[in-house]
Amino acid sequence: MIRVVLPFHLRTLAQVGGEVQIEIEGPATQRSVLDALEARYPVLCGTMRDHITLKRRPFIRFFACEEDLSHEPPDAPLPEAVAKGAEPFLVIGAIAGG
């Protein structure tokens, strides 16, 4: 079981409350987590990564275990604590504005 924390606007869009818990098959990676998340909440397709290229949208960041994983390869294993559900995988809308 993977715990995912979505930013406010995506929680509203997906009509979910706090953390989302998803099951994935195989290793826990950014790609497998996002695939499972989009499969369960199709309205999120395109909101975190491009529909076609599957590249992360520029102002979306992925954090876990106090690390910024945004630039990690999408198939790199996520930290063990995320894979085991001890720590959440955080989807963050980058801070911007003034």
Partner: protein, 392 residues
């Protein structure tokens, strides 16, 4: 008694204003889609309870929303799961993918960038939604980077009408300051095959075969800011309007110049006449008087506020050239708002109502064709679009 529903898109959500036919008291609902930019909402002429909305964000991209109950509740129509054998279940939600098939897409991969180099087409957002005149499940979308898409399943899936970008001049289009957006879509009520569109900064285009083939319709436009002022394309058209009883007559607010065509865009002539400035964004036509048109002159292309700090609508009852200023009820001092291209609309009541929204968050309405104005809501986020539905 008839009633009116005003659909307001703002920088931070959508608002829906309703009133009876007197248009004196208004009920405001919203914000819907709080915190998102709502570039445009528009209702189906066939089924007024069917409303489409373009919800967009620099963070999260494009979402299409649809209501089937007049804006009380909304759904993202592509949010359902599409099953493909052997693949993960996926949603088709909000997917605007440029056509790059060899038949239509081969020459459509790049357009001109600010520095003159070629740049890939990149989808950014939906600027304008135009529901079909005959089918509530068919809707057109004008997008940035400029292209037109059509959905025939209520916004669930979208397919580009690639003949527009592919007609030949596509590689020469380039973005204006607001991006390279297709912002205007006009459906000809007398000819289902005829559609007009406008792009900043490429110009106006027309199809006569339902979107398969297109041609530029910019003859007569003159723009000093492009190398050849009379070029076939490159003009920064801000908005185009028509009256449904006479769809061959078009009125255009260009970056500079108010223009008119009497032959479906084949030729244009200037009708700016005595306007104090012919720069502006919005233009619309009276519901019952095809020669009565409205613009909101803006001081210049850099200041983007009304001349002398006075918010004035200008009305021509002669199809252009002779203009009268309309000021009753509008602020006549210290007013430095803008009125954007999709932020003016008219209702269909006997005494035609005119509506416009400002970047200062006010929506003004006149229930007497522009003679008297009053704010029907104020202090909203900056208004991006205003559409009006006249309900039985």
């Amino acid at each position: 008694m008839s009633s009116v529903r005003v659909l307001v898109g703002t920088k931070k959500g959508a608002f829906i204003l309703t009133s009876d036919g007197k248009r004196k008291r208004w009920k405001v609902s919203g914000p819907h889609f709080t915190g998102w930019e709502i570039y445009h909402l528009k209702g189906s002429p066939v089924d007024p309870n069917r409303i489409y909305a373009s919800q967009t964000s620099g963070w999260f991209g494009q979402v299409i929303q649809r209501s089937s109950d007049g804006g009380k509740t909304w759904e993202a129509p592509g949010g359902g799961v599409t099953m493909v054998p052997g693949e993960m279940p996926r949603g088709e939600s909000n997917k605007f993918v440029y056509d790059t098939t060899p038949e239509t897409g081969k020459p459509l991969t790049t357009h001109q960038w600010y520095d003159g180099t070629q740049h890939p087409w990149e989808f950014k957002r939906v600027w304008h939604l135009e529901p079909s005149l005959t089918d509530p499940d068919t809707v057109y979308a004008g997008v940035e980077d400029a292209a037109i898409f059509r959905s025939t399943d209520g916004g669930t899936t979208w397919h580009e009408l690639a003949g527009l970008r592919g007609h030949g001049t596509g590689p020469k289009w380039q973005p204006g300051a607001g991006g390279m957006c297709l912002h205007t879509i006009l459906l000809d009520p007398s000819d289902p095959g005829r559609i007009y569109i406008a792009i900043s900064a490429a110009g106006a285009f027309r199809t006569d075969d339902g979107g398969n083939t297109w041609k530029p319709i910019n003859r007569g436009l003159r723009s000093q800011y492009i190398p050849d002022p009379n070029a076939e394309i490159g003009h920064c058209v801000h908005h185009v309007a028509l009256h449904r009883s006479r769809p061959n007559v078009l009125f255009m607010q260009k970056h500079w110049d108010v223009m008119r065509s009497d032959d479906a865009g084949d030729a244009w002539h200037e009708v700016s006449g005595n306007l104090p400035t012919d720069f502006g964004f919005a233009i619309d036509v009276h519901a019952h008087e095809p020669e009565t048109i409205y613009v909101v002159p803006i001081k210049s292309d850099s200041e983007h506020f009304p001349l002398e700090g006075k918010l004035r609508v200008y009305r021509s009852r002669t199809g252009g050239n002779q203009w009268e200023e309309l000021t009753k009820g509008l602020p006549q001092r210290h007013c430095y708002v803008n009125v954007l291209r999709d932020a003016m609309a008219v209702d269909q009541l006997d005494s035609c109502g005119i509506y416009f929204g400002t970047t200062g968050g006010q929506v003004y309405a006149s229930a007497d064709a522009g003679d008297n104005w009053a704010p029907i809501v104020r202090d909203l986020p900056a208004v991006l679009s205003v559409e009006v539905q006249t309900l039985p």
